[in-house]
Amino acid sequence: MIEVLDVYYTYPNGFTALKGVSLTIDRGECIAIMGENGAGKTTLIKHFNGLLKPTRGAVLVDGSNTMDLSVAQLSRKVGLVFQNPEHQFFSETVEDEVAFALKNFGFQGDEIKQRVDQVLERMGLTHYRQSSPFNLSGGEKKRLAIASVVVFNPDYLILDEPTIGQDYLQKREIIGIIRSFLKEGKAVVIVTHDLEFVVDLRPRIILMSQGRIILDDTADKALSNLKLLDEASLLPPQIVELAYKFFNSPSLEGVLDEDDLMKIIKPLLARRRGQQ
């Protein structure tokens, strides 16, 4: 479990990015943190692996205060994939980049090779194994960054904007990886603006605005709350907006995708047909 207890964080330049944030993340949970740029989302997740330590309050990972642990110790448990993948690359080849953390965490020869092969295959990067990470396209870099964290199988997987630059099939692959982590009882936290991706996953939603959590609720409730989405500077999912405009009702809980909407439209269509 990750426990965030009334955390404040002020950057050295004096900007207070978090103003009293509290939440708990249980194993097996999938959480999406959403909100406008500058809301404090990235600052918050950097507290999970100890990259940042609270100015006030505390963060506990499986009961231990992050103040008492090094980033190296925490990283084994909490794997964080940055928004801008170039910030985390330093190896000469894609293969070495993925193997790096494994070697660091004491994995041995065959196991390393097997895991690297598997994750490269999964992320569609196998034919780039000898390429330099810096020569990949934006979307490929993103997948390499995810691969180099997924490969050591952390208990908490934290992804900052994983879908940027990814097409339909790659997004599906990323969803597959998230689901398999959840199945193993691990927690996945995603920072994202990609509402339609969130509609597919239906995680618990945390909406942030100006350093605070303004909503912590299920996807069904959160994503149909147009007023709060607007406050968090988010556009509603298309189907939510359509349902709102059609029914003239501010909140139809749980009508997020085309199947949900079809279910409630079908009876209306049948009634109309009956009248004809």
Binding site: L242, D257, L261, R272
Partner: protein, 280 residues
């Protein structure tokens, strides 16, 4: 008047790579069109855009075969600096395009390079900043701006050159949906007001398609679908690795229920109207 873009039998292979990245591409774009270009990663859309302003073949080299004319110029025979006057290019990440100490200097940079006189430069910079709604930021440093504002400045610096075609390669990849929508609205306005030909490469079809007069889907180096957005949305885009907007998916479900629509709605307003018609 020559067409904005005319491509015939275009093939391209990057230097030192196996296989063509563009395969027999044929395309004609009239002036004033708003073209949305999409496709899975690696489908060749960025490569095609690089041909529009001459980065291919003049910068990337490689093997380019076939005909390509943009704004009346044969790209192969026209140097990049000359193409740059006709074709503005906007990249994914505005940071790669802005480098001056102030917004104003960034927008003026291309004009100064042309040796234009000061009065004309000032007039054009004022106009371009006005058009993108960033006039009050002229003395700001680019790093003081948000991602969306930076992208507006990048667009202003291209507009100041008074191009005929503007090519944008996933300009909203790093922006949140609301900011992305505002960029698309700006492009719509530039297209209508100035008659600017827009070539927009995007994955976000849900937000962008309502502004486009034409939607082109590429797959494995070829153009596989080309038409107005409602027509193209009748096809199963997933086969080409493209996400169909949920609104469209919903209407395709209705079609499977036996309903037919002259034109699939692209906005939730239109969609709500159509739904009212068929349910009451």
């Amino acid at each position: 008047m020559p067409k904005a873009i005319k491509v015939r039998g275009l093939h391209y292979r990057y230097e030192g790579m196996d296989g063509d990245v563009l395969v027999d591409v044929n395309l004609e774009v009239e002036r004033g069109e708003f073209v949305l270009l999409t496709g899975a990663s690696g489908c060749g859309k960025t490569t095609l855009c690089r041909c529009f302003n001459g980065l291919i073949p003049h910068f990337y080299g490689g093997d380019l075969r076939g005909e390509i004319c943009v704004a009346g110029f044969n790209v192969r025979e026209t140097p990049i600096h000359k193409m740059a006057l006709k074709v503005g290019f906007i990249f994914q990440n505005p940071d790669s395009q802005l480098f001056s100490l102030t917004v104003e200097r960034d927008v003026a940079f291309g004009l100064e390079n042309l040796g234009m006189d000061r009065e004309e430069i000032k007039r054009r910079v004022d106009w371009a900043l006005e058009v993108v709604g960033m006039k009050e930021y002229r003395h700001f440093a680019p790093y003081e701006l948000s991602g969306g504002q930076k992208q507006r400045i990048a667009i202003a610096s291209v507009l100041a050159m008074n191009p005929e075609v503007i090519v944008l390669d996933e300009p909203t990849a790093y922006l949140d949906p609301k900011t992305a929508l505002r960029i698309f609205q700006l492009l719509d306005e530039l297209n209508r007001r100035l008659g600017l030909t827009v070539i927009l490469v995007e994955h976000r079809l849900d937000l962008a398609s309502r502004y486009a007069s034409r939607l082109i889907v590429m797959s494995r180096g070829r153009i596989v679908l080309d038409g107005d957005p409602p027509t193209v949305f009748h096809h199963k885009l997933e086969e080409y690795g493209v996400t169909t907007p949920r609104l469209i998916r919903f209407f395709r479900k209705l079609e499977r229920e036996g309903y037919s629509f002259e034109s699939i709605p692209l906005t939730t307003e239109e969609a709500a109207t159509v739904l009212r018609r068929i349910t009451s």
